[in-house]
Every structure is written in C-alpha cells, then in structure tokens.
Symmetry: C2
C-alpha cells in the first residue's frame, strides 16, 4: 500500500522523519532515507534539522555517502558539519573526496580542527591534503587536483595501456582527458591525448606521439589568468608545475568555471549587503545579525551624511513643504538610473569589451543616453508636480532637478565601477553605496537650491 501514495502526499516536513530516524539510532535507516532523496531535497532537509540532530547526521552515514552528501550541501554547512564531527569520522569522510575538495574543506575549517582531522588521516594523504590546502584558493595550486595520469617519456604505448587497464577502478574516478609525459626527474615534457593511444602501435614510445612543450601553468597562477587561458584555448584541463617545472597537479576547466561563478556569486551577495560570508537562515541568529549589521551600520552613516544636505535647507523646505514629497522620488529615480549604468559597466567589464581606462568613452555614451532619459523623466515628474500643485514653476524646479541628477547619476554609475576596478577594489561591493550616497546628496542639493533660488515663484 505505502508505495502507492503519490509523491505529493509525502510528509512536507521530511526533517521530522529524519529526526525520528536519528533518535532511533539505526544508521542504515538514516542512510537509505537520505539516499532516496534528490540531492537538493536532502540539503534542504539537513538545513531544517534542529542543530543537535544536524551534527549527528555525518556519524550515521558511511564515509562514502557522507562525502557525497557534503558535495551537495552549501560549503559553509559542509565545513561546519565536518568541524563538529569526531576527527576520526571527519578524516574518513575527507579521504573519500577528490584532492581539491579535501583541500577546500581543510582550508575553510578552523586550523585546530583541521590539525586534529589530519592527525587521523593516512599520513601520506594527510600531507598531500595539507600541502594543497596551503595554496591560496583562487590560484592554480588551490584549484588543482592531484589525480592525473603521467608516464615517463620512454614508456611504450603498450605499457601505458596496460597500466591504465590495471588501474581501471581507481582511474574510473578521474576525468581522464589527457595523459602527461614527464622526464625522469618529474619535469613536464609532453601531453598525450587518450585518442592517440588508440591509433598508435603498442611498441612505440609515447614520446613519439606526445605533443611536446605543452601549455602549463604555475601553482601561483591566479584565477583571472586561468579564466583568460581557458577562454582563449579549448583545453579541458591544464597541467600545473612547481617552480622547478615538476608536474604537481591538473586544473580542470570545470573547476575554474566553478571558482569563477562562486566569486561572481560572492560579489553579487556583497552588492546586496550580505558581507562577511554567505548566510544560511539555519545559522545562529547572532552571527546572521552581526554580519548584516556590519553593512547596515556603514549604510546608516552614509544616509545621515546625505540627509544632512536636507537639514541645511530646512528653511526652504518649511516654505514649500511639497518639496518633501519629491525628495525620496528623486533619490530613488536617480539611484535606478545610476544602477542601470553600473549594470552595463559591470557586464561590459566581464565581457572584456571595456577596460578601466575607457572612462571617457563610457562617460560620452552615458551622457548621450542620459540626456534623452533625463528629458523624458524630468518632463514626467515636472508634469506630475505642476498638476498636483498647479504651479508650473514648482514643476520646473522638480523636473530640472531630476533631469540634471539623472545625468549625474548615469555618469557616476557608468564610471565608478571602472575606477574601483582600476584601484583593485571590488566594483560590485562599493559601486552601489558610492552611487546612492553621491546621487542623493546631489539630488537633494539640486531640488532645494533651485527652490531657494526661485522661492518667490513657487510658494
């Protein structure tokens, strides 16, 4: 009967079932419960568990299933679970992960926990993992895997095929695209496509069919350079060498893409005020609040600063109270116009069609489109003000202020990302607050000073 219940009628709160299974302490049940869920559903289920239960999940799974689960959990959650697990459990799980993910996990948990986990691992694996974890995350060293196939240049095709055949179980986990060829001392000298092995007689030495002097990167090569490289070349992976040109790893295109996406996602979150690390709602309230406030407290200062312009014009305001209605409109509209320019600049920077030196080009192009939009928006808001108060001059003040501030906003919005990038700052993080603070101040000043100058006509 149970199997006939349609899927929609399953418990909408599956974490309650999981808590029950954890209470019953039958590990197989926990394992099969999570295995039967889609990965995203399992991740959601883990997030919704009560914290105590959550820390017991990894202990209930065999190392392989636990490692699989970790790959689908948000990174911050994965490293927290590993940190809270017994070091022996954590070590067994880590050993099931590919070398680059081992390194990422170790790098993201506290150094003390990492040390006690490494102490429980197979010494060789531990040393390899610690070595990898020591590389900065956004470098070839931090992104590479140690799982690759390499043979010395005098090996025969037959010997290579036989070695591959004998290691087929282990190799099954690699994404084999290329085989690397080294000198006796381990320096990289060539690369071989799997396909070419198929097409060559077994007694040939692989150096005869290798592509000599293959492209490679250093362990210190940065993410930007890797992205450029994979963009301009069709490689699926590129070998990584140390300072002595010894082959030490392999960077996959997919891992570079993922690291790039992750960086883009981080800067997008920062642009929306999630600074200091990714937030999951299952995290402790205090940590979430502190991180959000770190951004809000800066923002309140910027706001008070911008609003001080209004405070300086209280007399003008008190004579034409209608102006107070338009101040937030001009602030928001200018912010929107400026944000459009920010978005286009960010996009063009990403596409590479814009460089930080192109300030005047951007300015010229923004002024052209800004002038048109300023005219349209200014006339619209002027009409609204005129109709509402029956005072054409008041409409004129509001319209001119919005039009001028639109020009200012698109200029700032277009240029600021370029300037920030030029000085090595993250344009996604700082463009927004700089834009809104400056356009607010200019907008308030324009409305109120124009009103003050034309006071006798607008009261």
């Amino acid at each position: 009967m149970e199997s006939q219940i349609p899927a929609e009628q399953e418990n909408p709160r599956p974490w309650e079932n999981l808590e029950e299974l954890l209470d019953r302490n039958v590990d197989e049940d926990v394992q099969s419960f999570l295995n039967e869920m889609a990965p995203a559903d399992a991740a959601r289920c883990i997030e919704r568990l009560d914290g105590d239960y959550r820390d017991r999940v990894l202990e209930s799974l065999d190392a392989e299933s636990a490692a699989e689960l970790l790959e689908f959990l948000p990174d911050a959650r994965g490293s927290e679970l590993l940190e809270n697990a017994a070091p022996g459990t954590a070590a067994a799980i880590l050993e099931e992960l590919p070398s680059d993910e081992q390194a990422d996990m170790l790098a993201s948990i506290g150094p003390e926990s990492a040390a006690s986990i490494l102490a429980e691992m197979d010494p060789e694996a531990a040393r390899a993992a610690a070595d990898l974890a020591a590389y900065p995350q956004d470098t070839a060293g931090g992104l590479m895997v140690r799982e690759f196939l390499a043979y010395q240049r005098n090996a025969t095709v037959r010997a290579v095929i036989e070695d591959i055949r004998s290691r087929v179980d282990e190799i099954g986990d690699y994404e084999v695209q290329y085989i690397y060829v080294t000198e006796v001392n381990g320096t990289l000298t060539g690369v071989l496509r799997l396909r070419d092995l198929l097409l060559t007689h077994g007694s040939e030495a692989i150096e005869r069919i290798m592509i000599a002097q293959p492209a490679s990167v250093s362990v210190t090569t940065g993410l930007d350079e890797l992205v450029d490289l994979f963009e301009s070349k069709d490689f699926l992976g590129i070998p990584v060498v140390d300072e002595a040109n010894r082959l030490v790893g392999l960077v996959h295109r997919s891992d570079v893409d993922d690291a790039w996406d992750e960086r883009a996602e981080q800067s997008r979150l920062k642009a929306q005020g999630i600074v200091g690390g990714e937030e999951l709602r299952s995290m402790p309230v205090l940590r979430r609040s502190r991180r959000r406030l770190s951004w809000l407290s800066i923002n309140i200062l910027l706001n008070v600063f911008a609003a001080s312009v209004i405070a300086a014009y209280q007399d003008t305001l008190s004579q034409v109270i209608a102006l107070a209605v338009f101040l937030p409109i001009i602030s928001d509209m200018s912010g929107c116009s400026g944000n459009q320019a920010v978005a286009v600049s960010m996009r063009e920077l990403t596409l590479g069609v814009l460089k930080p030196v192109d300030v005047f080009y951007v300015w010229r192009k923004e002024l052209a489109v800004g002038a048109l939009n300023a005219l349209v928006l200014g006339v619209l808001l002027a009409a609204a003000a005129w109709i509402w108060k029956g005072n054409p001059m008041l409409g004129g003040v509001i319209g001119v202020a919005l039009a001028l501030n639109t020009l200012i906003a698109v200029s700032i919005g277009g240029i600021v990302p370029l300037v920030l990038k030029r000085f090595g700052m993250d344009p996604a993080l700082a463009s927004g607050p700089i834009l809104t603070t400056l356009t607010d101040m200019c907008g308030f000043f324009l409305v109120l000073s124009l009103a003050a100058a034309t006071m006798e006509h607008i009261v």
Copy 2:
C-alpha cells in the same frame, strides 16, 4: 626595431589602426591584426569601431577566422554582424560553427535574414541548422549538438576504432567522451566509453561492452531538468532522443552550465533595471534609451505612488520639518535591510535548501534577525535625531518607525521571492520594486502617523 616596442606603448586606441587597415582594403592585414590580439581585446576593438567599419570586418576575414571571432563577441553583437553581412559570407561563416552555435545564431537574427543565409548554405547543412534552430533555446533540442559518434550495436571494436582513425580530422573538433550505440533503426540502445575500446579485443561486438539502457533526455527536456540531471549524475554529456527514441543529438554539460549562467546573468541584469535585452554601449542611443526607460517609467509611477503617503501628511510635516530629513533615510535603510533578506532567499532558492512553500520558516528566521537589527538601527537613528534636535520624543518617533519598518522590510524581502517563484514569475526582476514600493509606503506612513499622534511632544 618595431618588435622591441614594449607592449604598454602600443596604440591605446587599436580600433584606429583597424579602421586604417580596413580602409586600405588588404584582407590579410585585417586578419593578422585581429589574430594577434587576445580575444577580449579583439572584442573590445570591434565594439569601438565606427559602425560602418564594424560591418566590414567579417568580409575581410576568412570564414574560419570570422567564426572564431564570433565566438568571443557578445551574442548580440555577433548576430548583428552576421545579419549585416552578405548572405553568402554569413553562410560560409555559419558553416564553420558547431551545430548548436549555428542554431543559436540563426534563432537570434531576423527570420528574413536567416532565410537568405540558409539559402546560401549547403542544402543538407541548412536543413540541419534550421531544424536545430526551431527548438526553443532552453531545451535539450536547443542546447544539443549534432556532432557525436554513433555505431550500430553489431559493429566490432576494430571497425569502430578504424572508423575513428579514418575520421580523425573531423573528430578532432568533437569533444568525444562517449560513443553511442544504436539499433538498425537509429534508436539509442547503449553507450560506450572511449576507454573501454582500449581495453577490449578488436573482434568483439561493441554491444558486448556497451552500457545498456543509457540515460537520455528528450528534445523537449527543459533547462531546469537538465541542470538537476547533471547535478545529480557525473555525466559529461547526455544523448538526446526524439519522440521515437531515435538518437538525434548530444547535450554537453558545459553547454548546460553556460545556458544556466546566461539565464542567471540575464535575471541579474533585469534586477538592476536592464530589461528587454542586453545593452552594449556601442548600440544606437535610441535603442539603449528606450530599453532603460521601459523600466524607469514603471519605477517613476511606483515612486509617485509611494510618495503620495507623504503628500497625505503635509500638515504634519509642515509642523515638524525635521521629519523630512529622516524620510529618505528610513526609505533607504529599510530598502537595504529588505534587500539583504531578498539576497539570502534568492541564494537559498538557488542552492535548493529553500522551496516556495517555506514561507513561514523564512518569516520566523527573518523576524529573529530582523528584531535584533531593528533594535540596533532604531536606537542609532533615534540617538541621531535626539542629539540633533534635542528632543527625545522626536528621536523616539524616528527610532520606533525605523525599527518597525525594518521588521516589515525583512519580512517582505524574505518572502516575496518565494511567492513570485511560486507563481512562476522571475523573483530577480520583481522582488526589488515590490520591496521598495511597499517599504517606502510603510516607512513614510509609520514616521508621519507616529509623529501626528505625538505632535504636541515633538514640535
């Protein structure tokens, strides 16, 4: 001598050199000029050309170089250049592109131009391209390539290897990971790893080593489902079958990733007010202005609507003009708090740890962190108001209004993306305007109604 000029001293405006070369009408020079540039630099150079010159670039390149260039240009630019080229030139260039990119290009240019380009192509290639272009872009049919290796099940390993050997030039352009096995009528029956060919005796039929009943998708399978599939399985590609289970194409993991990134990028641009298509600053001013205004004109209406709350309280405002200073602050701060909640909801939805039904969970979690932040921000702004005007009651009104509106903002910001997603709308596009309009209205109402209620204490 020339080769000794360091790179930094090159002309900072390389498009001027290119225009000169185009004027001189020596195609080889144009070609070698662009070939020597990094792809992003070439793209930037093309963007900065005067429009007339830009349309002459493709004609000056051989078809292969032109096709390579197109892959690095922004999509909107690539299809425009093809559209403006002579149909014969465009056809020759299209034939150099992989089948999925042919289809994308054809789908993004006007139907008339597409027809005249297809008329110039090899009839068989044209029919295949037109077929592919007919599939919606975000389906397996729209994302698949027609370049794959397939053999009938009774073919021997030796025959397959020999066929691969004889087609090695052509196959060099494929990303071969798997070989597909079909019945005589073309229906998909198995998949074979290249590796397994290496490890099997030549006289065996491939059906002996194939994996039977391989996973496959239909031409109509959508992008979301493809993403889920590649997330839960380790495939590098998946075969695509038509309604009769005949093998018709292959979807690569990388193309699914790219399509997903592209969709994410589009919704990010929309969230920043770039609606109706990607903007490049090299596009005509009128088109850029019209697209930006399509969004700004909605926004000005929402703003006027929100500000009408202020208009309703003009009497209150005129009695305590200081309130006008705090209205934009409360509007902006509430927007920021709400945006943080939007960002976390969007992120959790993407990670899959949140579903549209989780409204109450989100609300509870947002109220917890919102209460803390409301307290801190309310006290800060209250203190600022008290200190500035020396009136503790005024500080109280401002602080309470900001605190309450922070709670409202995080609730709306957290929940709105879920609700929009539930009703099939794009949360990235609509969350922002809904959030700011509602929080502005509530914020203005709270400040002004609290002030009106306590008027005798704050004037």
